[in-house]
Symmetry: C2
Subunit: 241 residues, 2 copies
DNA sequence: GTCTATAACCGGATAGAC
DNA sequence: GTCTATCCGGTTATAGAC
């Protein structure tokens, strides 16, 4: 059994090497020339492989994008954790997380557009909204839970439970804006983050007011409904992966 | 001069016929087999034309989609105008517009997904958010202004000015949901419409309260910012059309 | 100068041999 | 696990007909 494991491990090791070689090459080329401009043939050639071999490891060009999610999320975490220690207010913490997110993905601006094109596609297995079990997404939502945990604010339980997810959706919206943002140094995005975080902070306070309870309940019920619908999508997409 | 006009008009007439022949064939096939499954070659063949000829009239497959926007918008208008006459409340009017919208696009469900894939793409000339001058979009926003005009509600001027645009964005969101919605007869979408319209009605009342003025002002300023950003996109895309 | 057709290009994806 | 050969469909170049 030990021998078998060893043998298998050697095999996968070689596969893993090839796989990560393709991945590195692809990400590098995407970064340099953009997603559309980088052909699968060019990736294979630069990695000194055949086209068919590249497809053996990544069954479509889109699948190369999954790596982008994972990688940038990890980089974001590294930057965000120390930054959060310095911030006590919800506003300060949210601002730190959002600004660092944009800074993290900045180097990949040129091909980030491709990401959202596929992400918006209903049938795509890469749609980040439909795959609730995606570990990257779960960790990303978890990060927003931590943002709330460390902040000194009183938020009613019902709202508190949904907020991490809602903030994650908000953060996806900001990324969508950033992708479209052609202003110098993406100042517009940073301004938008400043303004929306300010507003969000006020809206969360407002929604936490006991006076708002009925309408808050109704809105949260709606959020539940939307999440349920998204979860069903996940089930449907399973066959296509 | 009269002769010249005649000559030209005869020529364009023929061109127009060919063009609409292609369009009809394409929409029909999209409807039957979906967007991806319908090849340009198949459209050309069914219309008894050469492939090159089809491209002479529609410079890309995406351009065939523009016709979809126009057509369904017109059909929606026809259905909606008499229905609005029966409704006096904002809630009733909004509900009528939204339900009829879904009913109008229902026959095209199979290929509506393709529409949003391209629409979400930043660079696409078909992006409905970036092209503020698109007449179909303007008329669509105008429709929501009429919904408000006929309703017996008091809404502060600042909010009233932005609401048609905001409702249009809301309606795009519902369409996006509908595209993903695989529930029988799209009941889920209709339920979502019911619930969101109910909530929107309450939120509009809430936001109209004098007590909410500061936060409303701030939120509306944000909306302005977003619209400005979208308008800039339009300028950038001009070269690509 | 308006229209139509044919052939080719290009790049994502697949089949099947080794 | 890797390759070669091929498919397939969107798109383009181009030649020539009306």
């Amino acid at each position: 059994m030990s021998a078998m494991r060893k043998k298998k491990s050697v095999k996968t090791q070689k596969g893993d090497q090839t796989k990560s070689l393709i991945l590195e090459t692809a990400l590098e080329m995407f970064h340099e020339r953009g997603y559309e401009q980088t052909t699968m043939r060019a990736i294979a050639e630069k990695a000194s492989l055949s086209l068919g071999n590249a497809y053996y490891y990544f069954s479509s060009k889109e699948h190369l994008i999954q790596a982008f999610y994972r990688r940038t999320h990890e980089q974001h975490l590294v930057a965000v954790i120390p930054a959060l220690e310095k911030q006590q207010t919800l506003k300060g913490r949210l601002l730190a997380v959002m600004r660092l997110k944009i800074e993290t993905i900045e180097p990949y601006y040129e091909f980030a557009g491709a990401l959202f094109k596929t992400a918006a596609n209903p049938g795509s297995p890469l749609n980040p909204f439909s795959d609730g079990s995606d570990p990257v997404r779960q960790q990303s939502i978890e990060l927003f839970a931590q943002v709330l945990d460390g902040a000194k604010v009183r938020i009613p339980k019902d709202l508190r439970a949904e907020l991490p997810y809602l903030l994650w959706v908000y953060h996806m919206g900001i990324i969508l804006f950033w992708i479209h943002d052609k202003s110098p140094k993406h100042r517009r995005t940073y301004r938008l983050v400043d303004h929306t975080v300010d507003l969000l902070d006020k809206l969360i306070s407002l929604a936490s007011n006991p006076f708002m309870r009925p309408i808050r309940k109704q809105a949260l019920k709606l959020v539940e409904e939307l999440k349920d619908a998204a979860a069903d999508l996940e089930t449907q997409n399973e066959g296509e992966k």
